[in-house]
């Protein structure tokens, strides 16, 4: 019985908690991708770098606050800086839309042209971030490190395995829940949110009923900027910030959005967790958990790791392919442009 509890705790510590955290970060990123796809109707390759830009501003403001002696008690100072990051990111995407995307929208360009344009935007944002903060690794988490540390947990319960809960993990999940709740309230309950959904479902009909397309597009970009910055800042707090890593996040984020069904917000969230759980579970060495569960004679010799952690991209990708081959519109019926 104790062994079983130990196994559960080890599983939570190494698989469940990290996967839920990572999944929440992916879900927020995927929500941004899916909103752009649903309303602006293209796959935004610059999304990873949008996340990086918002996070970068957050980090810079955090440093400023820290230098000014401002702190947020046990919570990371970055949470105080987050609104500034969001506002800067909103300004950036609105300027980008005005200077770049609007021209092609007026021309009614094909979606693939938008994708190529977004590659150009990606180059610029990537260069901008590297230019301002440099390509190196930045850590900016401060405050308490743990909600419960592994040692405290062991003392409290007397189990052999510890369950550590980092502050950043707690903050990620709480923030993600708040943000998602706000987003769904906005999309389902407010007038603007409803007009966005109408525009996404049927552009012509929405225009006929007097919805202002410029306003819908602007609000979408504002929401996307907020989501991207929150997702990026949470990921950076939990792990660390590096421009190249954020560019690479594009792949799992897109995988999450597509697995859930592009254009479906609910799907994006589900997709985020599906991708995160499969990545963590397939690259986790199961030896520890299995040792508790199996009788001594059957104990595994190896690490019982299905794939080395370096192949985590492969996992998200294989899931993506399987979903695309067997259910091309995703788990929750997405839309096709």
């Amino acid at each position: 019985m104790i062994d079983f509890l130990n196994a559960i705790v080890a599983l939570s510590n190494f698989v469940l908690v990290p996967a839920v955290t990572y999944g929440s970060q992916l879900a927020l990123g995927a929500l941004g991708v899916t909103l752009i796809y649903g309303i602006l109707r293209f796959s935004n390759f610059a999304h990873g770098d949008t996340m990086a830009f918002g996070t970068m501003v957050t980090i810079l403001v955090t440093w400023g606050l820290q230098a000014g002696g401002v702190s947020f008690g046990p919570l990371p100072t970055a949470l105080l800086a987050l609104p500034f990051g969001i506002m800067a990111c909103m300004a950036l995407v609105l300027v980008t839309d005005r200077l770049v995307y609007r021209f092609y929208r007026d021309q009614k360009a094909k979606p693939v042209i938008f994708v190529i344009v977004s590659i150009g935007v990606m180059f610029i944002m990537n260069g901008l971030v590297r230019f301002i903060i440099g390509p190196g690794d930045q850590r900016f988490a401060d405050g308490e490190r743990f909600i419960i540390s592994a040692r405290d947990f062991k003392e409290m319960t007397g189990l052999r395995e510890g369950l550590a809960l980092k502050t950043t993990q707690g903050i990620t999940v709480v923030t993600a829940v708040i943000v998602v709740a706000l987003l769904f309230w906005f999309l389902n309950r407010t007038r603007t949110g409803k007009s966005m959904r109408a525009y996404s479902d049927n552009e012509d009909l929405a225009l006929l009923s007097g919805i202002n397309p410029d306003r819908v597009v602007m609000v979408t970009w504002l929401i996307v900027a907020a989501l991207a910055t929150v997702a990026g800042a949470l990921y950076g707090l939990d792990k660390s910030f590096k421009p190249f890593t954020y560019f690479q996040l594009l792949l799992p984020v897109f995988a999450a959005a597509i697995v859930g069904g592009l254009g479906s917000p609910l799907g994006a969230i589900a997709g985020g967790y599906v991708i995160a759980f499969s990545e963590v579970m397939i690259t986790y060495a199961w030896k520890k958990v299995l040792t508790y569960l199996t009788p001594e004679a059957l104990e595994p010799d190896g690490l019982v790791q299905l794939l080395s952690t370096n192949y985590k991209f492969a996992v998200s990708f294989v899931i993506l392919l399987i979903v695309l081959l067997f259910r091309p519109t995703g788990l929750f019926r997405g839309k096709a442009v």
């Binding site: 693939v112 994708v115 190529i116 990606m122 260069g127 690479q248 597509i258 299905l306 370096n310 192949y311």
Partner: protein, 434 residues
């Protein structure tokens, strides 16, 4: 101004830029730009086959280029007999077993009636096969990687002349493209883009982690060269006499002539591929490809097998990228998996094709040279601009130092601006296709 005059002018301009580099900076730099420009032109020809001819949105160029590089290692490096003796059999058997498992699962899927039983059988085959494969394969890998890990720790190559690696690189990339194309080509354009992006990352992950194959992140150095070494030329009295007779310093002359040797080899490959691509574009096959690109439904209604044609052109384009990848690794003389980055090897090639003119082979070649020139030269230019801008700032000020340090990142910014400007004001590129 007629079209051909304009196009010749554009090519002359690029030539002038490179020759100008020779006069202003050094001939060494100019030849470096020329050599990588030739390779970039081949890569962008490959992508132009896929995007310009057929409208396939491939953002996995990096993966095929890296496979070409792998071919250079596998063909030209000497084999490591101890490693083969220690675990070669197990590695090969493991790979064969893995392939057999996949084939068996595929057979089960195709031959059995749909239902619970089929799912169960496939699961048993895949899960059981996976563990059997890992059992056989891991033993071999461990044994191979234990053989003198500091110097080898891999199976080595075939020890053949490195020029043979170029076609082999093409074949390797074509093989990978066949598998990928079978799985992903039915997808819509943005799905295909994400799929190819992911596949390129997976190819890179394999190259970085499978040390038995090409030493992973430990890199492979000292690949054989198709041209003589500088030192040998300097020790060759005949060569020294000849160049001093012409009034050159032997050291400079040897490095220049080695680079010229590479340039000649690359130019031959570029001309052959350009010629073939041009013939293909103007053949009935090329007309069919363009018809498919412009209206898939109509082409299908005319009885064209769109899926097969897409697969065909995807394989061809990827093979060209693979050849270019093998050539690049030959030029570098080393294979460094960590140096492959999507911005440099996928998206930069995209900028080349779009700026040059998608659908036009000469445009792709022009874009390859021009964008590569800018990619190299934007850094010194950016540094110069920043130095001028920051000149009034006091020496040692933090802002000035930061700005000068960041000059290297100007190139990404510049490439983005160029791409957006071309898309906006000349969406069909410098030399538009038909």
């Amino acid at each position: 101004m007629s079209e051909s005059v304009k196009n010749t002018g554009l090519f002359a301009l690029v030539a002038l830029l490179i020759v100008g580099t020779g006069f202003v900076q050094s001939w060494n730099t100019a030849l470096l730009i020329l050599n990588m420009g030739l390779i970039s032109a081949i890569m962008s020809l490959g992508l132009n086959l896929q995007w310009g001819f057929a409208g396939l949105f491939n953002v996995g160029v990096m993966g095929f280029v890296a496979l070409g590089g792998l071919a250079a290692v596998l063909v030209s490096m000497p084999p490591v007999p101890e490693a083969w003796a220690a675990g070669g059999i197990n590695v090969l058997a493991g790979l064969l077993l893995g392939a057999a498992v996949i084939v068996a699962a595929g057979l089960a899927y195709n031959r059995m009636a749909a239902g619970r039983l089929r799912v169960l059988v496939m699961l048993v085959i895949l899960v059981g096969g996976f563990f059997a494969y890992r059992g056989v394969f891991d033993l071999g890998v461990e044994a191979v990687e234990d053989v003198n890990p500091a110097a080898t720790g891999y199976l080595g190559g075939l020890g053949l002349p490195v020029l043979m690696a170029w076609p082999v690189g093409g074949l390797l990339a074509a093989g990978a493209a066949w598998i990928i194309g079978k799985a992903a080509l039915g997808l819509r354009s943005d799905y295909l883009a994400i799929a190819t992006l992911g596949i390129a990352e997976i190819i890179l992950a394999v190259l970085k982690n499978e040390d038995w194959l090409a030493r992973g992140v430990k890199n492979v150095n000292g690949l054989p060269r198709p041209v003589p070494y500088e030192v040998d030329l300097q020790n060759d009295p005949g060569f020294v006499d000849r160049v001093t007779g012409l009034g050159f310093d032997p050291v400079t002359a040897s490095s220049l002539s080695v680079k010229l040797g590479y340039a000649a080899l690359f130019a031959v490959v570029l001309i052959v591929i350009l010629l073939l691509a041009q013939l293909a574009l103007n053949s009935p096959w090329g007309r069919m490809m363009r018809a498919i690109r412009d209206n898939e439904t109509a082409a299908r209604a005319m009885g064209k097998d769109v899926t097969r044609r897409h697969l065909q052109v995807f394989i061809l384009g990827s093979a060209v990228c693979g050849i270019a990848g093998a050539m690049m690794t030959t030029l570098d003389g080393q294979f460094i998996p960590t140096s492959y980055q999507p911005l440099r090897f996928t998206f930069l090639i995209w900028v080349m094709v779009i700026v040059g003119g998608s659908g036009n082979n000469f445009g792709a070649v022009l874009g390859g040279f021009l964008i590569w020139f800018l990619w190299v030269q934007v850094e010194p230019m950016g540094l110069w601009v920043l130095q001028t801008v920051t000149a009034p700032l006091s020496e040692g000020s933090a802002l000035k130092e930061h700005l000068l340090e960041s000059a290297a990142h100007m190139r990404l910014l510049t490439m983005g601006v160029i791409l957006l400007l071309v898309l906006r004001f000349s969406p069909r590129g410098l030399i538009p296709g038909r």
